[in-house]
């Protein structure tokens, strides 16, 4: 079985989000980058499947050279090799076209992604890749078991979950509790250094969207503290008018 896992390289969830150059650029100074938390579920499930069913796991990132430490971390968790498409990820369709281009001749049985990236939170790349490759795409997937040439999954739908069966190949956007996040161990970190990381050039596409300007949310006006339950109810009733 061949599994492709697509990972993002994103600011740590505790990062202060700020902008520079007249609010036209993300301020990356002092920011720690991590594998997207949902992508971390995807990679963890891929490595579990490798251990239980036998599989080769390739990780893929569309990004500049600065993402390589993040890619190496995925290799340390247990992926076998990696591909970096050497381009700044400008928008979802651009990224999807790059992923589809890598995947189309790769013979992957499944392409695992995160439910969404945590920077632009689009949640669209999986559907686009599915459409470009003409295969099903499912998200958010909370459970994934392989059964012969198909997979049994549970996916979140509004108001509950649905159990589905899908023939391979497919794209799945992962979320908890599909797997336990994995922390690389020393041996993993050592072997990751020599695992292959292939850099490929992007395919050309036209620009669909452009991020013109950024903005910080307005600060909260300040909390009103109640000194008793009666006062709290009064605030909710007469100040917020929500009761």
């Amino acid at each position: 079985m061949k599994i492709l896992v697509c990972i993002t390289h994103v600011p740590d969830t505790t990062s202060r989000i700020a902008f520079t150059d007249g609010n036209t650029k993300f301020d990356s100074s002092g920011v720690q980058y991590i594998i997207g938390p949902y992508d971390d579920y995807a990679i963890a499930r891929a490595v579990e499947l490798k251990e239980s069913n036998g599989a080769s796991v390739t990780v893929l990132n569309v990004g500049g050279a600065e993402t390589e430490p993040t890619i190496r971390k995925a290799l340390a968790i247990g992926a076998d090799d990696a591909v970096r498409v050497n381009a700044a990820p400008t928008d979802a369709l651009f990224v999807a076209k790059q992923i589809a281009n890598v995947a189309k001749n790769g013979g992957y049985d499944m392409i695992l992604m995160g439910r969404e990236s945590i920077d632009y939170n689009g949640g669209q790349v999986h559907a686009m890749v599915g459409e470009l490759l003409g295969i099903p795409s499912l998200s958010p997937v909370m459970k994934l078991e392989v059964d012969g040439n198909a997979a049994k999954m549970s996916r979140e739908v509004e108001g509950g979950k649905e159990f589905v069966e899908v023939a391979m190949p497919f794209v799945a956007g992962c979320q908890e509790p599909i797997a336990e996040w994995r922390i690389p161990n020393m041996r993993g970190i050592m072997t990751a250094r020599t695992k292959p990381l292939n850099v490929v050039e992007p395919v050309a596409t036209d620009e669909a969207v452009a991020y013109v300007k950024y903005e910080q949310p307005a600060p909260k006006a300040g909390v009103k503290m109640a000194h008793s339950v009666e006062e709290l109810v009064d605030l909710l009733k007469n100040d917020a008018k929500v009761l």
């Binding site: 969830t13 505790t14 979802a92 369709l93 999807a96 969404e116 945590i118 939170n121 689009g122 669209q124 999986h126 559907a127 686009m128 599915g130 295969i135 099903p136 499912l138 998200s139 958010p140 909370m142 049994k152 979140e156 739908v157 509004e158 509950g160 979950k161 649905e162 159990f163 589905v164 069966e165 899908v166 023939a167 908890e176 036209d206 669909a208 969207v209 452009a210 991020y211 013109v212 300007k213 950024y214 903005e215 949310p217 909260k220 006006a221 909390v223 009103k224 503290m225 109640a226 000194h227 008793s228 339950v229 009666e230 709290l232 109810v233 605030l235 909710l236 917020a240 929500v242 009761l243």
Partner: protein, 312 residues
């Protein structure tokens, strides 16, 4: 210009977010035509006229995969010659939108929180970094798809009723077979709820959720929780709120015994009002709150429930 709006319903009732999407399209301006996939009653669909739809296209049948739904949406766009597709944010909308964007060679943005600015091209404001920031995004293709966040516009009810027409499409065979389903506990959807009552590790154990549920029931609210609470299986994963869980946008969010870690805040900062109940006056959540009370949840919550009951 024609605008297509895909609407969703649950248990035969249109979702509020879908009505918002129709109102959003009406404010953009143009002939607004809604598309319903599935089995929503015609009488219910006709009420979209009041929100600004001139017509509703109704595709009957069940849609188990986004591939099928995307074919129907794309064909509906072609048939009415739509340049703009609007959908309310949902897991389904994201899946359909991505596929339609490829089929139509359209520019797609999701998490839209404002009406388009057309003074210079076509741009919209979107939330990014889990609502920790916003971006203004220009859509550079003739065809555009906007996936709109909840509470972006108010629902207006003013027009009459819309004509409902059957719309038929030949769908591809679905490769996705649905074999079963499981309803979440509680009858109010977390993602749709007007009020959410959430509990954190401060509640000490699953046996103490009775008072959270009582408060939720009194308010007609859905229940949520922090990530450690669902990790420890005190509550189901479907209730986990935050950056890596459900993002909620209720009018009122009540956080009980939750410290207010940045990852939790990322899932709640689109709420209109936040109330924090915590025994530690230094809890970071107070900084993100509109109203707060320092106190032991085991005393405050039952009292609050009684006080609200007394009001009703």
């Amino acid at each position: 210009m024609s605008i297509l709006v895909v609407v969703e319903s649950s248990e035969g009732k249109l979702k509020k977010a879908s009505r918002e999407a129709v109102c959003y399209a009406a404010q953009v301006g143009g002939d607004v035509i809604a598309l319903s996939l599935g089995d929503t009653p015609e009488a219910e669909l006709a009420t979209l006229g009041a929100n600004g739809a001139s017509k509703v296209l109704n595709v009957a049948g069940s849609f188990s995969s986004s591939e099928e739904a995307a074919v129907a949406v794309s064909e509906a766009m072609n048939s009415i010659d739509a340049n703009l597709l609007v959908m309310a944010q949902s897991a389904k909308a994201d899946m359909i939108g991505g596929r339609v964007a490829v089929k139509q060679d359209a520019a797609l943005v999701s998490n839209v929180v404002g009406l388009p600015d057309t003074t210079n091209g076509f741009s919209v404001k979107v939330s990014i970094f889990s609502s920790k920031a916003f971006a203004h995004v220009a859509l550079k293709k003739d065809k555009k798809i906007l996936i709109v966040s909840k509470n972006t516009v108010d629902v207006k009810e003013e027009g009459g009723s819309a004509n409902v027409e059957a719309f038929s499409v030949s769908l591809p065979d679905s490769k996705v077979k649905v074999t079963g389903e499981e309803k979440a506990s509680g009858d109010i959807l977390l993602t749709d709820a007007e009020i959410v009552v959430s509990g954190g590790r401060g509640l000490k154990g699953p046996e103490n959720w009775g008072m959270v549920e009582d408060l939720a029931k009194t308010l007609g609210a859905a229940t949520g929780c922090s990530k450690p609470v669902s990790d420890m299986d005190w509550r189901p994963h479907s209730e986990h709120v935050g950056q890596t869980g459900i993002k909620v946008a209720p009018t009122l969010y009540i956080a009980i015994g939750i410290s207010g870690a940045i990852q939790h805040l990322a899932g709640v900062n689109s709420s209109k009002y936040i109330v924090v109940i915590n025994k530690d006056e230094e809890a970071p959540f107070f900084k993100a709150a509109d109203y707060g009370i320092v106190g032991d949840a085991f005393e405050v919550v039952p009292k609050l429930t009684e006080a609200i009951k007394a009001l009703k």
